[in-house]
Symmetry: C2
Subunit: 126 residues, 2 copies
Amino acid sequence: MDALTINEAADTTGWSARMLRYIERIGLVEAPRSGSGYRLYGPAELQRLRTLRELLERHDVGLGEIGFALRLRRDRQLHDAVEAWFEAQPERPEHVPAADWLNWEQDKHERLLAAAGRTPDLMETR
Amino acid sequence: MDALTINEAADTTGWSARMLRYIERIGLVEAPRSGSGYRLYGPAELQRLRTLRELLERHDVGLGEIGFALRLRRDRQLHDAVEAWFEAQPERPEHVPAADWLNWEQDKHERLLAAAGRTPDLMETR
DNA sequence: AGAACCTTGACACGATCGTGGTAAGGTCCT
DNA sequence: AGGACCTTACCACGATCGTGTCAAGGTTCT
């Protein structure tokens, strides 16, 4: 009572055989193959397929997104880059030379962002 | 020399104004607004936009994927669920009653997966 | 007041995603 | 040997992604 072929696995997991192949191509749930190339789904794979389905439904995410999450776990390089990007809160230069502020009104192409992010209605004259 | 409006920001970052709005909608790089609703891009945002561009190009990922990464960081619930799914290596029952193995040949719908994942050519008679 | 911006919302369009189906060919069980 | 199943490779198709453009209306500058 162990390994099922793709259609059997499809029946018991709710996925279609077509989707099982797709899921495999994405890299999630890859079934081992028989000597002649048939996919063999054991309890482990069946379990993963069922929980995968639940995961998607419960959080409204797509296969591609989980596929990306997988890529993140495998490619540390990428993971770190993404993480670094999120982490990077480019320091807002604390020291804003007053001189720059004076030119402001004149330079059409360089407007000011009030203080540090919020703008106290500098632009509305009305 | 601080905050640019959307088209100016577009010019200096390489993105189009359209994309800046799109990027904002996804949740990456949200520009603060002026009193009248104009987006104001300060050095921080500009920096993020440039590095974002680099991130995408260098690792060949899409905005949607980074958007998903963002969702993962914000929704710990989801993050944990995904992590759990990947972690879950459903234990392959170590104890396989020999009896089950005997029925194998007979039960058309229940085939066996050799040992723990790899199948030693059980299915190829030739 | 008028030009030059900005904002949101809509229509559009090729590319990819998520699915299904079908064809051509190999494998397994009677 | 024949039927039922598997494999890969294609064609298809609606939905979303990534972009652009345009319209209608508000803001800012001169």
